[in-house]
């Protein structure tokens, strides 16, 4: 049976954050700032910072735009790609509209082919991401791609990227990463003073803030707020501590994360691209900045990499650090890489870690919310 999710009075939901960001980005544009639209945690945003531009995330998170996208894209395809493309192509995304260019990567098949269509709408620079870390020259190749992207951004934004500026951006972005990881790590506390819904909303809303200092300030404030909450909170009934893994959850947060918590879970950890996966490892602040960026970004454990053993190591570490009782894998419809990798993740979680595991494959519609509720409830009943 469901209860109410307690959210603080100052809670800004994702839709509000997105709307408030519109005004901020418009103001920045009026001031002459250049905006670069991005789609992925593989994007070395330091390049954009070094060119004095700002990044904005363009990953779609709702049903809006999907019908429009399906005029061109296949129906049986990732909802994130369909929504992103549909909003861009129907001119319904102000962030896309304000973007001076798109910085993209050849991550999954769906995205890279979609970017080919997107090129008709905007200048899109696609970085060629190696399909794995192990191939001969993978790191070298990726470093060259980062250098090529730096030139393209410099040209598009009308500001050459210097090594000094890049170094400053790396240092600044590392600070931001540390602040993010520290906020995520509040989830290690037992009981956890914050709902996973709240923490993931804050993290995903950061993309609508446009200066690093502003983001760091918010992250630190939130962290202090949660720690103070922990001091006030009573012990209460122990809730199963859940980790979310798999695809980006930005478009299914309400259907899965919020519902799981309403049904009695405490979502404490995230192994997804908006989670600490991409943030934990800092960029080396010494040596060649391009090589340092290449090393860091190539290490991100997304299922597009083949093979991707680092993901299991990260899961292993997080299960221990966050004292996880069960793992929910969220896979977006037709995301082949995560769907296939799920077999190995399930084996690892159930056989090696001896923990319950739930696989949920879904899209951005509400059609399956009843079925998802039943699966979530049954999963939580297993842990009682």
């Amino acid at each position: 049976m469901t209860s109410e999710l307690k959210l603080p009075a100052n809670f800004e939901d994702y839709t509000d954050a997105k709307k408030n960001g519109f005004l901020r980005v418009m103001k920045l544009k009026e001031e002459g700032k250049k905006v670069v639209g991005t789609f992925c945690s593989y994007t070395p945003s330091e390049l954009v910072m070094a060119a004095d531009g700002v990044c904005v995330g363009l990953c779609g998170s709702s049903e809006d735009g999907i019908a429009f996208a399906e005029k061109t894209l296949p129906k049986n395809m990732c909802p994130l790609i369909k929504c992103s493309y549909g909003l861009a192509a129907s001119d319904a995304c102000p962030y896309f509209y304000f973007s001076d260019m798109i910085l993209a990567e050849t991550t999954c098949d769906g995205k890279k082919k979609m970017f080919e269509l997107m090129k008709k709408l905007k200048p899109v620079h696609v970085m060629q991401l190696p399909p794995g870390r192990e191939g001969t020259g993978a790191l070298d190749f990726w470093e060259q791609e980062i250098r090529r992207a730096a030139l393209a951004i410099g040209e598009q934004l009308g500001k050459e990227i210097t090594e000094e500026a890049l170094h400053r951006a790396i240092v600044q972005k590392n600070r931001e990463r540390r602040a993010m990881v520290e906020l995520y790590e509040v989830g290690r506390m037992e009981p956890c003073p914050v709902s996973g819904y709240e923490i993931s909303t804050i993290m995903d809303s950061l993309q609508f803030m446009f200066t690093s200092e502003e983001k760091i300030k918010l992250l630190e404030e939130k962290r202090n707020e949660f720690l103070a909450r922990a001091a006030e909170d009573g012990k209460g009934r122990r809730k199963p501590r859940i980790m979310i893994t798999g695809c980006p959850t930005i478009g299914v947060r309400d259907k899965i994360i919020k519902q799981a918590e309403l049904l009695g879970a405490s979502v404490v950890a995230f192994d997804s691209c908006s989670g600490p996966r991409a943030q934990k490892e800092a960029v080396s602040e010494s040596g060649d900045p391009y090589l340092a960026l290449a090393k860091k970004y190539l290490n991100i454990n997304c299922a597009v990499m083949s093979p991707n053993p680092g993901r299991l190591d990260a899961l292993d570490e997080m299960i221990a650090d966050y004292r996880i009782d069960g793992v929910i894998e969220v896979v977006l419809q037709a995301c082949h890489t995560f769907a296939i990798e799920a077999a190995e993740v399930k084996r690892f979680i159930t056989k090696e870690k001896k923990l319950p595991y739930l696989y949920l494959e879904t899209d951005y519609s509400q059609a399956d919310s009843g079925q998802i509720d039943t699966r979530l409830s049954a999963f939580l009943e297993m842990m009682q």
């Binding site: 319950p356 696989y359 494959e361 059609a367 079925q371 039943t374 409830s377 049954a378 009943e381 297993m382």
Partner: protein, 255 residues
């Protein structure tokens, strides 16, 4: 003291009553169009048997997709946990795979030591569920148990479409080409068993299986499924009540 399990599925509403120290007694009603109204009919039926709900003397646990529509339930638990508990009770085995073919969902549940440790449900689609059988039985001018009787005397024709609507078109073309009804019926059962077997294989495991839900007493279905899986599949007397009985037992465990 009475412990009552109410399992409101998409097609049938099952009730199990356990009086302390006695075997469960069960009855079934069609769910109809409103689960809430069905819940009221069950309340009246219980009252006729002098089992008043909402008293100190009775505890009610509701399950199934209509579980939220039973206003007099003390608790709600999903049908997965209830089928696990009920299946273990009826089969006398706490270590097995439970396969529940329901009206709109098919579930495969792993039980270890009587506890659910893993489960898998079908996708949004109705292939491999009771709904598929019901539609095809209608098309053949029969009902579900009639369909199994027909199937036993037939040689399965291929029905390869996974979508119920397309499969119905296939059945219609078989009818149009004058194929024997028995062969079409056997083809329908075969196609459902194949889809259920596919779900089981995806779920994994290798031990014995226990069939619960509406098809539990259809020996022909259990045999067909067993053939496809290469694992023993056992039907159960009163298997369709596994969810309701499980709910009543959980109710007793939780008092």
């Amino acid at each position: 003291m009475y412990f009552i399990g109410i399992d409101i599925g998409s097609t049938a509403a099952k009730t199990a009553v356990i009086k302390e120290g006695q075997e469960p007694r069960c009855f079934v009603l069609p769910t109809g169009w409103s689960s809430r109204e069905t819940a009221e009919t069950i309340r009246r039926r219980l009252a006729e048997e002098e089992i008043p709900v909402e008293t100190e003397e009775t505890k009610v646990l509701a399950t199934g997709y209509g579980r939220i529509s039973v206003p007099y339930a003390d608790r709600c638990i999903t049908e997965i946990t209830c089928h696990g508990r009920g299946g273990a009770y009826l089969s006398g085995s706490g270590d097995c795979t439970i396969i529940d073919v329901g009206g709109q969902d098919t579930k495969v549940i792993t039980l270890e030591d009587g506890v659910v440790t893993d489960f898998l449900m079908n996708d949004k689609c109705s292939a491999g569920t009771g709904k598929f059988l019901e539609i095809m039985a209608n098309r053949l001018g029969s009902h579900i148990s009639g369909l199994f009787e027909l199937a036993e005397g037939g040689k399965p024709l291929a029905i390869s479409a996974m979508c119920t609507v397309f499969a119905e078109s296939e059945v219609i073309s078989h009818i149009g080409s004058g194929a024997p009804r028995e062969d079409i019926a056997a083809g329908v059962v075969d196609s459902v068993a194949a889809k259920v077997a596919q779900l089981c294989m995806r779920h994994g495991g290798d031990g014995p299986c226990v069939l619960t839900g509406g098809l539990s007493e259809q020996a022909y279905f259990a045999d067909t499924l067993s053939g496809k899986l290469g694992r023993p599949v056992r039907g159960l007397k009163d298997g369709k009540y596994a969810g309701a009985i499980g709910a009543a037992l959980l109710c007793m465990d939780m008092r």
